[in-house]
Every structure is written in C-alpha cells, then in structure tokens.
Amino acid sequence: MDNLLWLIPGFPLVGFLILTLAGKNMSRLARGLTGAGSICLSAIVVLIVGWNFLINPPAAGNYTQTLWTWFEIANFKPTITLYLDGLSLVFVFVITFIAALIHIYSIAFMAEEADDARFFASMNLFVFCMLILVLASNLLLLYLGWEGVGLCSYLLIGFWYQKSENGYAARKAFIITRVGDTAMAIGLFILVYQFGTLDIVAISHSAPEMWQAGSKIATLCALLLLAGGLGKSAQLPLQTWLPDAMAGPSPVSALIHAATMVTAGVYLIARMHVIFQLSPVTQMIIAIIGAATLIIAGLSAIVQYDIKRVLAYSTMSQIGYMFLALGVGAWSAAVFHFMIHAFFKALLFLAAGAIIEALHHEHNMFKMGGLKKSLPVIFWTFLIGSASLAALPLITAGFYSKDQILWYSWASDGGSPLLWFTALLGAFITAAYTTRMMLITFWGEAKTHLGMRPGKLMTIPLLILAVFSLVAGFIELPHNFGHVQLFSEITEKVLPGTNIRAAVSGEFIYQIIAVLTTLAGIYTAYILYYRKPMIIINLKHSKSALGLYQFLLSGWRFDKLYDTVFVRPIVYLANLNKDDVIDKFYQGITWLTGRAYRALSFTQSGSLRWYVMGLLIGAIFILTIQIIL
C-alpha cells in the first residue's frame, strides 16, 4: 500500500497539467471529465488505501513513501516523502471525497462558463496542494502545500478577474495569509536549528526530550506555527480575508470552506500537537482565540444579508470551535468536528450556489424567499445542512461533534467555565443565525423570479452530502449515550487522549443544557424573523441599534482598522517615495557639478584683463602660502 500513496496527489496534479497545457484544445465535456475524474480517481485510491489501512493496520502505524530528496545541505535533508497515518487519513478522505462531489457539481455549475479549463485546472491544483499539505512527512513539504493552497485560493477567488473587487479579494486572501505564513517560516527556522530536521515524526519524537514543558523556546515555536494556522484558518486577528473570499464561484467557496484552505490550520496544530502540548500558554491562547472568533464571527453572521457571507462567518465561527477544542486538548474532537463541518458546509455552499444560480446571481437573502416550494430538493438538503450547523439534537451529525467540544471545553484539563459558557453562547448564536437564514431564504413570499432549476449533476452531490450530514455523527457517540468510538479509534494512535479534570461529573446535565440552548436559539430566531418581525423593524429606528448593526455587518470593523494602521500608511509611504529619495542625493551631485562647471566656465571669458588678474591672484596666493609655511 505504501507505494500507492503518490497516486493520491498524483491524479489531481496530472489533471491540472492536462487542463493547463491542453485545456483549450479539449471539448467542454472532456475538460469537465478530466477535472472531476482526476479527483474521483484520487478518492478511489484513498478508499483502497484507507480500507487497507483500517483492516490491516501497518505495524508502524503509517504508510510512508519517499519519492526523492528535495535537497541536502549540511545534514539538513528534507525529502519529498508522503506519510499517511490515522490523522492524515481522515483529512485525505474528507478532502478527496468532498472535492470529488464539488467537482462533479461544478461540471453543471460551470456549464456556461467560457474559461472552465482554467477553473478546473485551478481546482485540481488546489486539491493537489491540500493533499500534499496533509500527506507531507516534513514541515518543508507541508509548507509547499501550504503556500500552494494560498496560490490556488488567490487564483480561484479572483477567478472572475475582470471585476477589480474580485482581484482585491483574491490579493487580500493571499497577502493576509502570507503574514501568517511568514511567521510560520520563522518557526521552521527555529525548528531546523533545534532538531536539525523538519521531519514531523522526528520532531514529535525528540521535542519532549529536548524541551521542558512550558519552556520559552517551545512557546515561541508553538506561537509562530500558530500564527501560520491563524492566517489559513481565518482566526483572529488574521480572519478578515475570509468574508471577501466569497468573490469566487460557489464551488470554490465550498472547497475553501469545507475541504481545503481553512482547515489547514486545524491540521497543522493537530499534527504538531506535541509542540503545542509543551506550551500550555499557547494552548490557552488557542482556546481563547477560538472562543473569541466563534463569538465575533457568529454575531457578524446574524446581521448579514448576503447568503454566502452568512456561511462565511459561520465557517469562521465553526473553525473557532475547532480551535477551542484544540486549545483545551480535545484533539480528536476538533478533527471530528472538522470532518462533520466539512460535510454540512460543503452542502450549504453548494446548495447556496444552486440558489444563487437559480435566482440570476442574487446573493441577497432578503430578495429570495419562498423557495421552499419552488426548489424542494435544495430546500430539504439545505435544511439538513442547516440543522447540522445549528447542531439540532440527536438526528444531526453536527450535534454529536459540537457536543463533544462543548463538554470538553468544560471538563478537560484546559477547559474552564468561561470557555464553556462562550461555546454555549456560540451555540445559541449559531442556532439563531442558521434559523434566520432558513426562514428568510425559504419561507415567506418569492421575491425574485426563478430561473433555471439545478439539474441532477448538482442535486446528487447535495443529496449525498445531506446523508453524511445526518449520519456521519453516529460513528462517534458520547459514552453515556451509545458509546460508539469508531472515529477516535482511527485518530487515537496519532492524537493523545483528552484528560478530564478530576472534579467534573454530570456530562448528562451539560448535554441537556446544550440541547436547550440550541432550541432556544432556534426559537428566538423563529420569533424574531417569523412570528413577530415587527420587533426587528422597530429596532431599525433606534440609532444605537443601527450603529451596532453596521458594526456587526462590517465584521467588527477589522477591515477599517487594518486599513488605517497598515495598508494606508504603507501605500502612502510607497507612493510618496515613488521617485526614490536616495536618487535625489545623486541628482544633487549632478546638479552641483553642473553648477560648478557653469561657474568656472564663466571665467573663460576671453578677456585678457581677467586672465592677468587670475594669474596675479594665483601667484600672490602661492607666495603667501610659501611665506607662511
């Protein structure tokens, strides 16, 4: 099985190359088949490899395949090596499986697009880079995938490049994540000098021996790696690129939010958990950032009117849950929530894309309405996705994954009442904005004329994802309720278990509280947006409420802050110095030389009297010097 690994990223790469080099000469059908087919093949390989991995677990606990040595200098020898263990298996499965569905959906979605070769090529490259990221055995190769993912997000967010604002959103995504990447690169430098290698297994092995828990160097490394994760996963303070990333086509959003890009940070922290465990401070910071992001993003989601922006903020918020879980040491719970989130978020974005297409590119939920009857398949699948996002108890997968996080944010070593309460508040907000989105979009009267209805190629992926959004949660049930642990059995060999504080008990009570909070959130939104809409309408007359609305709508004005503090000063200084102030110095010399030359040339007047005078003065000057010396 080891030597099949290269096929997993290999197929998407081949797809990318074919589409880039020959895409223009192929038929539309061939382009779609190449684009989607390469990912499907990759997903099949994952299934074969994964099946073998689970049935006959390799003795070493992983499959490894070294392709070649990247370079070798002074005993530093990063290789191009693929490495598959329980953690990367979960990721490659989610990536290839969801990406395959997204690609199939895209064949129909992109049917009218002239430049679909570029689209599928970039999508394939995106999947390739993400697969490299999660299969890399060393951090340098991981960094290659990491940056590659950034490039692809840039290409796809700005896919419709003729609109300047799309290009702006694309550059924003690239540059903001690059700030995090740069910090991460510095983290890699430290790791090289500490361990002499960037091999993940080797580092994980020797870090606990070399570093004391809580030592400064461990914290520094952990923080620098975290900075990389914050950028890619759109967490505070590097989160501002994600809402604008909506500029790309909807399948791109689905890919970015579910299978690739934003989950990279979660993967990195889970993968390097040994280093983070050595730094309790960083762990705490991760938990706090996660908690803060999930509230900030959740509150922003509540006031958005663009359906894709609601989903974008909800991603930010859900990734916040994953970071919270990582921060409190609930490693497996974070990865579980990543998987479940991938299912329902891909579903929501694809369904939203179908709605937007059907309504002539209308993004505004308030101009939708009444879609319950006219788009039944979309309605039901969207409803299932929303229920999973809102963590509707018992029947949705989102309930099981989020419940774990809520419980651990209270009960685990790193947990605390405050974190738990924040997560609970987040659950309330999530339920509220999800219900709001459902009600505005699907109930009420239709406000926009319905165009083309989505075909089978689009609805079948939705149905598959809907099934997973419901049942995927059953593979991991709480121990007081079914006690199924199929998922954590896969990850437990890689990720450490979660330590429970000694003094906690009564998981059942907390589950009940979580359930009630979710229901309360749903009910609140139901009252405000369905039963008594006048409350909101009246609120709009209040000036302070309007101010708050604007504040939340803009994502807490982070854009404005960064614009004022970083962007504008840099651009201003750059433009001020466009002509290069240093060159002025050299121009000054030229000017001075020119002046001196003109002054001296003035003496060459042709007048004999002046020359005699000059001679005389010179002679006197020299004589004087001779006398004095």
């Binding site: 223009k24 003729q162 050299y586």
Partner: protein
C-alpha cells in the same frame, strides 16, 4: 582549454557578426546564436561529464586552469581557472546569452551587426570576469563588460537612454576605480612583504595586511561590487539602466551583470579579507535587509513595468547581501541559488515586459489590464514567474530565499526576521503586477490599442524561450541538488576560512 575556447569563441563570434553584417543584415543574429549555442553545449557537456569529479570534491579545488604570461615585468599573467561557482556562472552566462539573442530577434532592426557585436563583447567580458584569476586581468574584463553595455543602453535604449547610459557608466566606473586602487595597494603590499610583485589571485590570497589597511582595501573591493549588485544606497543607477535598456540589455543586466557583483564578493572580498569581512558583516547585512524592504516598497509604487521589475531586483539582491555575510553553508548555498534563480525569474519578467512593449508600445501598467483574455498563455507564464518572484515553494526562488533566511537566522535573528517580512512585501508587488497587467477590466485596451482582439499571444519563438525558462525554474525548485553539489567544494573552502579560529578571534 575550455576556458580559452569560451573566451575565444566569443571574440571570434563578435568579429564574425560585425563582418557578416556587411554582407547581409539577417546574418549577425544567426552567428551570435550559433556562437552562444556552441559555447553552451560545450559547457553543458563539460559539466555533465565532469559532474562526479566536480561534486564529490570536499574542498575548494579547481576543475581546470589555464596559465600564460602576459606582462611578466609587472607580474601580470593571463591566468584563468574554473571551480564549481565559475562553472555555474558560465552556464548561466551562455544560457542568458542565448535568450538575449532570441529576444532581440525581431526587436532590433537598427545597426544590427554592431548590436550583436556589443552583445557578444559584453558576454565575453562577463565570461572573463567569472574565470580570471589574475587581479589585473579581472579588472580588465570588468571594464570590458562595461563599455559595450554603455553602447547597448545608449544606442538601442528607449526615450531617456542617454541619461541612463551615462548614469550606469559613471556609477560603475567610479566604483571600479576604488577597486583598482585596492588591487594596486594589495599588489604593492604583497610585493614589499615578499619581494614578488604579482597580480596573481592565488599568490595574493595569503597576503599579510595590517587590519586597518585591510579594512580599507576590503572596502574598495566591496563598494565596487556593492554598486554592481546593487546594495542600497548605491542602487539608483539600476532602475534607470534597466528601464531604458532594450529587452536583451535588461535581461543581461539583471541576469548577469548584477551577478558579477555577488561573484566578486564571494571570490575576492571574502577570501582576501576574512577578518575585515567579519568586521563589516553586521553593516553589510543591515544594508542587505534595508535593500530587501526598501526595494520591495519602491517596486510596489512603480507604474512603469520595467522599473517595477528593476526594483524587485534591488529587493532580491538584498537577500544575496544577507546571505553572503552570514558566513555559513546554508546561506552560501542559498546565495548561489538566488543568483541563478533570480537571473531566470527576473530575466523572464523582463522578457515579458519586452514582449508586452512590442505589442502595446507602452510600459505603463496603468494603461494595461485584462490582458489574460487575449493572451492566456502569456498570462500563465507570467503567473509562474510572478509566483517565483514572491518565493512560492516548488519554484527555484523559494529554495534560495529559504536557505538564505535559514542561514541568516543562525547569525542575526532580529535582522533576518525583518528580512522575512520581505516575503509579505514581495507578495504585494508581485500580485500587483498580475492585477495591473493581466487581470482586472480590460477597458483601457481600447484606447491604447486599436484592435484588441488582434493582440497576438506567444509566437513559437517566444513560447520556446519562456517555456524553457519555466521548466528551469521548476526544476531548480524541486531538484536543486546538482547546483548544490557543484558549488559545494567552493563553499566548503569558504567555510573553512570562516571556521578557523585564527580568523574569527581578534575581531571585536
């Protein structure tokens, strides 16, 4: 013998181009291409057949040497030698030379034979610089490459060419003079010490010079090389020269002339004046880091495409300065990689700028936009090199910058971390190129270019050139080991000097 052959074929070829121009205007470019191709093939065969010997040596050994007396009375000899570094630089010289001829193919229509004559003379000068092991000879070649370049800019350049040519000439000439004084001083000091008056590099290597004098002599060399590199604040000739030069001129300036500066520091400054180099290192690194950030910010604000690319060179060469004066293996290897990958990536960007200018008759990026629609192939290739320029992993520049920063980090944590910020700024200017030229709305085209649908994408010749460059940059990014191995003996030699305690003590 290969060394003589290389110099010989270039001088012979240049004569041929000049004479054949009298017969037929179409001939010179073919002769130039043939000359460079034959040189390149010979070098390539030489590299491959000697690869084992070259790369397995553990110390600074010379692959081949040629010695002939020139003016024995003054101890001047015609002494050429080649090690791994020289070999790589020569390969780069001939490769860039071929591209320079190809990109001039249709661009140059006036005084064709004299043009190719100058081109080959520049390359002959550069070749000499990379293999001369006699300081007098080195200075001779240093000047040889200067004058034809002056003509190239001054005659075939664009609107403001004379100003740019003067500026280029004066900067290089003035700084070269400082180096010449240093060479003479070294010559006389060595002569007084030993009674043997010689310009030979190997004889002068161990010259005993008092620390103060050594520092000033080192400075003479360093300034000459720093102007060529260029290091901020000596960079201001570069944007003008690059912008005004014809495409091939920009290509050779960015791809080769700047490299002679880095080569000079590695070959002469570091081995001749180790202690003084250590003394100046913090300042040199500081200037390098300033260059990285300053160049990137300046690049960001430019509206002239070639000027923009020129300033990115300033930024990238800052990395070279940082790497050289970090004195460790990672950094040295990174520097050599940077020299090669920068030549390819920036060269490619200048070629693209030239092709755009041929089509649009402007370099102003404000008048461009949305060109992807009509020229998707050019767009893809531009994306590759823009990404190379911002150091995307998988492309050669990443390996170079990663190694330099890694090496620098060992010595100067804070300065290197600031330098790493250059990665963010490089993303800013690089993406700006894409946005302004290939993406965005293509409204302006209608005013700038009458028939926008007729904007031709790559011709076969252009595709060949850009395709080969793309393959090179990808190959360097994924498998740089041949480069690393080839230059390793030379770098080991340097490292030995800087690891020895005699050198490192007493400095402080």
């Amino acid at each position: 013998m290969i060394l003589i052959y290389l110099i010989g074929i270039l001088t012979f070829g240049s004569a041929l181009t000049l004479l054949s121009g009298q017969l037929n205007k179409g001939l010179p470019k073919w002769f130039a291409l043939l000359t460079l191709l034959s040189g390149f093939v010979v070098l390539l065969v030489f590299w491959i057949s000697n690869y084992k010997e070259v790369s397995l040596q553990s110390t600074n050994t010379w692959i081949t040497e040629y010695y002939h007396n020139w003016i024995p009375a003054f101890g001047i000899s015609f002494h050429l030698a080649m090690d791994g570094l020289s070999l790589l630089m020569l390969l780069l010289t001939f490769f860039m030379g071929i591209l320079a001829v190809l990109c001039s193919w249709t661009e140059i229509i006036e005084r064709v034979s004299f043009y190719y004559f100058n081109l080959l003379w520049i390359l002959a000068g550069i070749t000499g610089v990379f293999i001369a092991m006699d300081l007098f000879l080195f200075y001779f070649f240093w000047e040889v490459m200067l004058i034809p370049m002056y003509f190239l800019i001054g005659i075939w350049g664009s609107a403001n060419r004379e100003y740019a040519a003067y500026k280029f000439f004066i900067f290089t000439q003035a700084s070269g003079l400082l180096m010449f004084l240093s060479i003479l001083a070294l010559y006389f000091i060595h002569g007084q010490n030993t009674g043997i008056y010689t310009f030979d590099y190997f004889d002068l290597l161990g010259t005993q010079v008092s620390p103060t004098v050594a520092f000033w002599l080192m400075l003479g060399f360093l300034i000459a090389f720093a102007v060529k590199l260029p290091v901020v604040p000596f960079h201001s000739w570069l944007p003008d020269a690059h912008t005004e030069a014809p495409t091939a001129g920009s290509l050779i300036l960015a791809g080769l002339l700047l490299k002679t500066g880095a080569y000079g520091i590695l070959r002469f400054v570091l081995p001749l004046f180790p202690r003084a180099s250590i003394e100046i290192a913090p300042w040199a690194i500081l200037l390098g880091v300033i260059g990285i950030i300053y160049g990137a910010i300046l690049a960001y604000s430019q509206t002239d495409l070639k000027r923009l690319i020129a300033y990115t060179s300033v930024s990238h060469m800052g990395f070279v300065m940082l790497g050289i004066f970090s004195f460790n293996e990672f950094a040295f290897q990174g520097v050599v990689m940077q020299l090669i990958t920068h030549a390819i990536s920036t060269g490619a960007l200048f070629l693209l700028a030239g092709m755009l200018k041929e089509r649009l008759h402007t370099r102003d990026i404000n008048q461009m936009g949305g060109l992807w629609t009509s020229m998707p192939k050019m767009g893809v290739i531009a994306m590759v090199f823009v990404m190379a320029s911002l150091g995307l992993p998988g492309l050669g520049n990443f390996v170079a910058e990663f190694l330099i920063l890694l090496g620098g980090f060992k010595v100067h944590v804070v300065l290197t971390s600031i330098a790493a910020l250059g990665l963010v700024f490089s993303a800013m200017y690089a993406l700006r190129i894409m946005q302004k030229v290939f993406l965005g709305p293509n409204v302006n085209l209608e005013t700038a270019f009458s028939a926008k649908t007729d904007l031709p994408d790559f011709s076969l010749r252009e595709l060949l050139v850009m395709g080969s460059l793309s393959i090179c940059i990808l190959w360097l990014g994924l498998n740089p080991q041949p480069i690393i191995d080839t230059v390793k003996p030379m770098i080991n030699g340097l490292q030995e000097i800087y690891a020895s305690p005699i050198i490192t003590q007493n400095v402080k």
